[in-house]
Symmetry: C2
């Protein structure tokens, strides 16, 4: 497909394509000149910043979606627009509960998000589900990924699901997600989930952009913990032991008791609220209401003791500094002479032939030339 | 005192001063022109890099001490010499066990270090005790601090105690400590303690420069945990419950059992070895031998499974990158226009008047002018 300056994504294509997927009927190949011509005729006209902002503030999901695509774009002219849109939406942001959700692979995170999400939309909430996964393909994001995992929620008119952006660095991905949060809040979403996998660096990033951090686990501490990075448990505001159903109920309740006493031995959290340990079954839809009640209780308490507001302020400052540092560092490493010499210095340092500080100094001097 | 270009520290002064402290006799005031003239006459001649290195390699503690003072110095000509000394000592470094020791205030860390240190020197080890405390006074380091806390160990000829360097940033302090480790190892020390307080950021730094990380705690989980930063517990290779004596023995053993089961529920450590939980009494000198045995056992295991070597390589690389990043960032913030505008941007961002990313961008653009 010949891609010109206008945004042409699979979303656009699906919106206007003449190729409707009818099960059972063999489809012509994707590259269909007639279909492409039709897209070009029907292509939405490029919008101004004002039009984007108006659309978002009135809750228009299609426009919200395109704005997020602008944020995720790697093109500089899109970035400039995106930034202007985000700044304009900023005054209307902030009015949601941001919940980070992580868990080991296999803990049933997607099923949980679907079931818990449906509980929230059923209670009248507008829910956005975003994701941070720095390993996601360097394309314009995985289109089908989340929608096949959470079929029911994808079809829910009160829910908006967006896959992880891809970007050069975790810092880039985190920034784009945070900007998307601002837009979703301006569009009127009450609750925002930010999902991540529990095995990388993204948990710290997610923890720094949410009001509440939830860790999904399985009963029977042991092998499945292999997947969790140390430090994440201490970060969580709540541990949820999933799959508490059938013959597994006993084990789940045992694990709940064990983790409750374990967490009691650990330093208190900055919020002043100890982390809760709950069980649930995403398939049988039990325990979910209790989780939501406890989250609401937590939010009430930390709004009252001032932690909610101070935490958000700290997070905002953190992101300003993180972005400055990330940019300085990325600029440094993109310098051609640095790229060339980095491996050499790493080797010298690992083989104890040069102290890491001298290596750092020489690298920095390279840059100054 | 008129300080000229040669290093004149309290160490030098005490070494050659005509003012001997005789208890009971009133001492003349410190500024004694005759004493100063005598110091100048007896001042050690400035040494070359080769002389420093030879001295260190032959185990000369006075020369080691001066070299570390060079490392800690804020003067650039001293830094150049220091770097040369460190590079020359590097091939002779690495042959010690590096143990990080942290704990809440009140857990009896100093008493523990003294008692445990005496055990090690008693077993024929040469022990160096260094410290990281970024809050230490911006002078040339607190001279008496540690020596009054650990009187017995200070007098032990096989022990070398050095207070924390002071520096502009944690990165600076950490670097100087790491360079001091290299010199101590070249001077023949078998075990190096790196001490820190459990409440700040320095634990991550210490954890990144040691082979084994030890957390000193009290029995009766509760208030004293207030002092530990979350995440430190998960970092520890061993929890030591101190003050297991007298009427407290029962509580200590209970706490030991509780923490053992708690730690069992947490993700495994990268080393493959679960963290141990031991009790001891630094005053009655019980439990210390067991701690040393378990540390030696751990070292044997991780040397065998390759983790010891790979961990050290990762740490060295980490310090190279950390130093690069730290320098880039410090340079950025020292720029006059940045210093001026930083508070303004922080405020804008905290009051939601500007997104943190736009603020970061504007700050970065300031620097480019």
């Amino acid at each position: 497909m010949d891609v010109d300056k206008h945004i042409v994504t699979m979303d656009d294509y699906n919106e206007q394509s003449a190729l409707t997927v009818n099960p059972g009927i063999e489809q012509p190949p994707v590259v269909n000149p007639e279909a492409i011509a039709q897209i070009r005729r029907n292509r939405p006209k490029p919008m101004s910043v004002e039009q984007y902002v108006d659309g978002i503030l009135s809750g228009n999901i299609t426009i919200l979606s395109r704005a997020i695509t602008l944020i995720e774009s790697l093109r500089e002219e899109h970035n400039d627009m995106a930034r202007a849109i985000v700044e304009s939406c900023l005054p209307s942001s902030g009015k949601s509960i941001r919940i980070g959700i992580t868990g080991v692979p296999g803990a049933g995170k997607s099923t949980f998000i679907e079931a818990f999400g449906k509980l929230l939309t059923g209670a009248g909430k507008k829910l956005a589900v975003l994701a941070i996964d720095p390993s996601s393909e360097r394309s314009k994001g995985s289109i089908l990924g989340d929608k096949t995992r959470m079929v029911e929620l994808s079809c829910d008119p009160a829910a908006f699901i967006r896959p992880s952006p891809s970007a050069g660095s975790l810092g880039g991905v985190a920034r784009k997600t945070r900007e998307s949060v601002i837009l979703c809040e301006a569009a009127g979403f009450d609750v925002i989930f930010i999902e991540t996998v529990g095995v990388g660096q993204s948990e710290t990033a997610v923890h720094s952009m949410v009001d509440f951090f939830l860790l999904i686990m399985l009963a029977g501490a042991g092998d499945e913990l292999q997947g969790i990075k140390r430090g994440i448990m201490e970060m969580a505001d709540m541990l949820v032991i999933n799959k508490a159903d059938g013959s597994n109920i006993q084990k789940a309740m045992q694990a709940q008791a064990q983790y409750k006493s374990a967490l009691h031995l650990f330093p208190p959290k900055a919020s002043g609220q100890p982390a809760g340990v709950l069980t649930c079954s995403s398939t049988e839809k039990t325990g979910l209401r209790e989780i939501w009640l406890e989250i609401q209780e937590y939010i009430k308490l930390v709004e009252h003791n001032g932690f909610f507001a101070s935490n958000r302020r700290e997070q905002t400052k953190y992101w300003m500094y993180e972005t400055v540092h990330d940019t300085l560092i990325q600029k440094f490493y993109s310098h051609p002479s640095i790229k060339q010499e980095l491996k050499h210095y790493e080797e010298q340092v690992c083989n104890n032939r040069m102290s890491p500080f001298t290596a750092a100094l020489e690298l920095l001097n390279l840059r100054n030339k």
